[in-house]
Symmetry: C2
């Protein structure tokens, strides 16, 4: 009875056992999250949600992406939404969720308001993100395939627990936090392709933060509302395999396998783009490029001749041609309507074919390049294969530099690695 809840609550309150690698990956996710949030600050959904909150004119407890301050719950909603607006944040393939955008907005806002050191913030963030992945695994693919947006549903639990950690809750209170979150956690996949998708992340962050605040204030919830006949797992069509979800909890950090996006387009295209990087394609020499990918992606991101920048973000042919022609796929602003009309790009795209390959996983792709001189070159990539830590750091930082500039990145990275106050870190969201 309540095995999952008890284990998660104990984990959330226990001293942490981490490696340097865990800590660096956590810091990289924080840097990456700040960078993509700053880059997304002027998206239409960002403005709408931020304006709603600013009109409420509440106490300036924490910084918002793009300027201004707001109370904690409002800040979590806004920053979660904005940081997912470009869909350029990190992904965890184990449960198909985006850990950062649900957990970090809540944790950073609270850490800023409580004037916590960054080291405490990162610890709470890591716990929250790991817990969201574990809850996501517990809910399983069935939950996702039924129509729930794991980023938001499992993310709310992660946000709640990260905030509970920062508020110093004990395991009994943490169980209450999980139970209260169970009555609010929500988010539908039917919002994909609308402003509702990033909003789901903001909602998760705000819900989690609110649950932790209320329990801290003495609110009494059902602390067994996650599991059991009428628990969240049952009502939300979860697989509820507790033993698998808890395996290695506390010493194996599934979070470390988080995947950072290095291209500002659909994640289904990334393995192919990484493989293409290895081939060093020179456009005039290309006779044909054959792309093989997991069948799932054929209906997601294989637009053949997109005519808009948004369409380009879901097109193998376009993004591979863009990269070969020197467009920077790391920059959101590279994806324009005009680029779809570029004759050289269209010519190269017409030499690219895409086919499904059942032998590949969702994170794998294979490329075959046939040159006009008859040479045939092949490359493949699996996003699940961890980058060497130094490579990962180089690439996340390089991406962040493109989005927010070198000075900002150096300053933020220095704080993340050497300490400081969460409030100083949060001030960079206004940048």
């Amino acid at each position: 009875m309540a095995k999952l809840t008890n284990a998660l609550a104990d984990f959330a309150c226990a001293p942490l056992s981490t490696t340097l690698q865990t800590r660096i990956v956590t810091s990289l996710s924080m840097l990456d999250w700040i960078a993509v949030g700053c880059a997304g600050k002027d998206e239409p959904v960002s403005k709408i949600v931020r304006d709603m909150v600013l009109a409420e004119a509440g106490a300036g407890q924490a910084h918002l992406f793009g300027g201004g301050t707001a109370p904690l719950r409002a800040t979590a909603l806004v920053n979660g939404t904005i940081s997912h607006a470009l869909d350029y944040d990190d992904t965890h393939f184990a449960h198909i969720g985006h850990p950062s955008v649900a957990i970090l907005p809540a944790a950073l806002a609270l850490a800023e308001a409580k004037d916590k050191p960054i080291v405490d913030l990162l610890e709470a963030a890591l716990i929250g993100m790991e817990l969201s992945i574990r809850v996501g695994l517990w809910l399983g693919r069935a939950h996702y395939q039924a129509g729930f947006h794991q980023t938001a549903t499992s993310g709310a639990f992660g946000a709640a627990v990260a905030c509970g950690r920062l508020l110093g809750l004990n395991p009994a209170q943490m169980r209450q936090v999980l139970g209260l979150t169970a009555t609010r956690a929500a988010g539908q996949k039917s919002q994909f392709g609308t402003m509702g998708k990033p909003y789901n992340a903001g909602v998760a962050a705000a819900n989690g933060l609110e649950a932790a605040q209320l329990i801290t204030a003495g609110f009494q919830s059902n602390d067994q509302a996650l599991e059991g006949t009428f628990g969240f797992g049952a009502t939300h069509l979860g697989e509820n395999d507790t033993d698998s979800a808890l395996q290695g909890l506390g010493h194996d950090w599934l979070f470390e396998l988080v995947s950072h996006k290095f291209h500002a387009c659909c994640h289904g295209l990334h393995a192919a783009l990484e493989a293409a990087r290895e081939l060093d394609i020179a456009e005039p020499e290309v006779a044909e490029i054959k792309v093989k990918t997991h069948p799932r992606w054929m209906t997601v991101c294989n637009q053949v001749n997109p005519t808009t920048g948004l369409g380009a973000k879901f097109s193998y042919r376009t993004v591979i041609a863009m990269q070969a022609l020197g467009y920077d796929t790391a920059l959101p602003e590279s994806f324009t309507d005009q680029i779809c009309q570029n004759p050289r790009l269209k010519s190269l795209a017409d030499r690219i074919t895409v086919e499904a390959d059942n032998s590949l996983s969702e994170t794998q792709a294979k490329l075959a390049l046939l040159r006009r001189d008859g040479a045939r070159l092949e490359a493949e990539h699996d996003l699940q294969t961890p980058l060497a830590l130094a490579d990962r750091e180089d690439r996340v930082r390089a991406k962040a530099v493109k989005l927010i500039g070198r000075d900002e990145v150096d300053e933020i990275w220095s704080m993340l690695r050497t300490g400081g106050r969460a409030a100083d870190l949060a001030a960079h969201l206004n940048g």
Copy 2:
């Protein structure tokens, strides 16, 4: 495709066709809601949620139960929670939901802030409550029995549409409002018996209000997120019988069947209490009282010898004895721990037996009184049998007088029946 969504959105935007009875029942629900909200203002959950919001120090856009003002979303959360804190608000048995506590907090806050006339507020409130009942019927018993708290889930849609009406949205925008609400609507029955139950109502009110605000500001959602394969009805285990749910929409007002509580205890006890009223029980003469009720209530509200005031609220024997001895079961403060120790009450309670009767519905009860003189008297009551309108008005007003005093009731009722501004009505929440 989207038959339900289209019909609901059209209904929400169309001119209303109501009778005097519909309008009076709506006004009675508003009066009743204000009275139970004022009565619940100092409950522990009320203080916790109100204090959280007041600490955010936002713009004073609308009045809170118990004092103070707050921004709209926060007001809806607080007033929804407080008005359900005593579980003394109205109930609709068709979908087992409490319409007022999810819809009125959102509609009144928005109407106050937009300085709307009361007549517009009542129209929007009626539309929202009727729509919540229709959505509740569409989701059906299966949804409730799976573990969802209909008051909150279907209530969020009602709150959203009531607010959309006050904001002057058109049907296309109203479909967006319904779609956006689908990604937030939540609430678990597992919170029953905790502070989470009233909180669910507040969350529904706040979610609905937020959805309407965002769509008004240009937010783009999936307007087909209620129905279909990945729609809310499918993911949330609804029965999704569209034709039944829409039957008579626009001219038959299911809302009129709403049931007001005249006793400050579990609704499962009310039919028996009403039947007992008819018997005019004199304690010394009672040899035995036999209560027959629907089997469902035997595990809900048949505590045999409760020792606390809370327990008394779930005990046939206690509440019938209380009423016979002249305790006012309409007053929340009548239900004390001390009363459970009253020897005369215990003596009478020991002469009361309760048994399940499969031939009764959930809203029916039968009483048989055997007097010491050998006389046998019987009475029965069905909460579904509508009170004559004048009787209903008398009893709702009498209940409200007990909770907030005659002057307040007269003033509020006069505004509700003769017009005025919503803001003047809202000022009475601070009382």
